[in-house]
Symmetry: C2
DNA sequence: TCATGAAATTTCATACTTGAAATAATGCGC
DNA sequence: GCGCATTATTTCAAGTATGAAATTTCATGA
């Protein structure tokens, strides 16, 4: 979903280009997400949220807490619970207790989950290269660092 | 939700920077979206999808077809039906029949809808300026045109 | 120790989202 | 006119998403 161009600027002309940037940014990510979702579904019978969770877990073979997952993925706690539930019932992810704290559950990829993820991830990387193919590597680097810097400014953590 | 950094590149080093760019892009838009959702909720008791639909309709005082809305907003038909339903029951949007075609319904903002939208939109523009405040107007323009150009390449329409 | 507050997670109600199937109306070829 | 693909929309099931309330466990100070 994409915010439409709005009417005449509110505070002079300041912010007009930023507003356009936001709309383009959102439109770009929605378009790519949509194509990604489509391919994940047809080629691997999975979904983007599932892939995101698996990708997060893949980076941490020792496992992650539910709250870590939620924080890292920028989604709510309850949301992660549901996605992990489904991954567990598919045998791709396992929960374990942490010694000495029965509140927390440590979540990690199973062997099957890791194998599955590796397959999907290599396709994923190729797809992204394809989607962003006409952005030069130089531009990609510049753009990425631009996005990083603005983000760390208005958000708390780097 | 944000795809995690993946493991070593699949096809040499090609695409690594593009992958990073994608992750940053997604993370940036998710972060801004999240903050936006929050403010829309607390300050105007509305949601981002509602705002997006209203913004689309605001640009077209003559109204839009459901399918136009869905195409413009990059979301499914069924999705638009639900959001418009709720906007209608709030009195912000109205449906009308088109002369000579009983399949289509033309959707437009009501007076109340337009007034409401104007209020929210001016806040929205200020917020975006704030979120992207440390991106210079020059960078914003450059970035926006970069996003536009890559998008029109791998997608059908310009 | 024991109350009590904090932390980790799940549950819940509601809303959003998709893609596919169903419904309904149009228009075209014959 | 009739059949039939096409078009426009809604309905539906499943999954995703949020924020708030509930649950369970931990930790700490009186």
């Amino acid at each position: 979903m994409v915010s439409a161009p709005l009417f005449s600027p509110v505070i002079g002309n300041v912010g007009k280009d930023r507003l356009r940037l936001w709309i383009r940014l959102l439109r770009a990510s929605r378009t790519i997400e949509s194509e990604l979702r489509d391919r994940l579904k047809t080629e691997f019978n999975t979904t983007l949220p599932r892939f995101d969770v698996m990708a997060a877990l893949f980076r941490k073979p020792e496992g992650m807490l539910m709250s870590d997952l939620s924080r890292f993925l920028l989604v709510s706690n309850g949301n992660v619970t549901g996605i992990v539930d489904r991954l567990v019932s598919d045998g791709l992810v396992a929960r374990a207790q942490r010694e000495g704290d029965r509140r927390t559950s440590i979540v990690r990829l199973t062997e099957a989950g890791e194998a599955t993820f590796r397959k999907i991830a290599s396709a994923h990387e190729i797809w992204i290269g394809e989607f962003l193919g006409n952005v030069s590597e130089d531009d990609a680097r510049r753009l990425a660092s631009m996005l990083k810097s603005f983000r760390s400014n208005w958000e708390g953590e780097p």
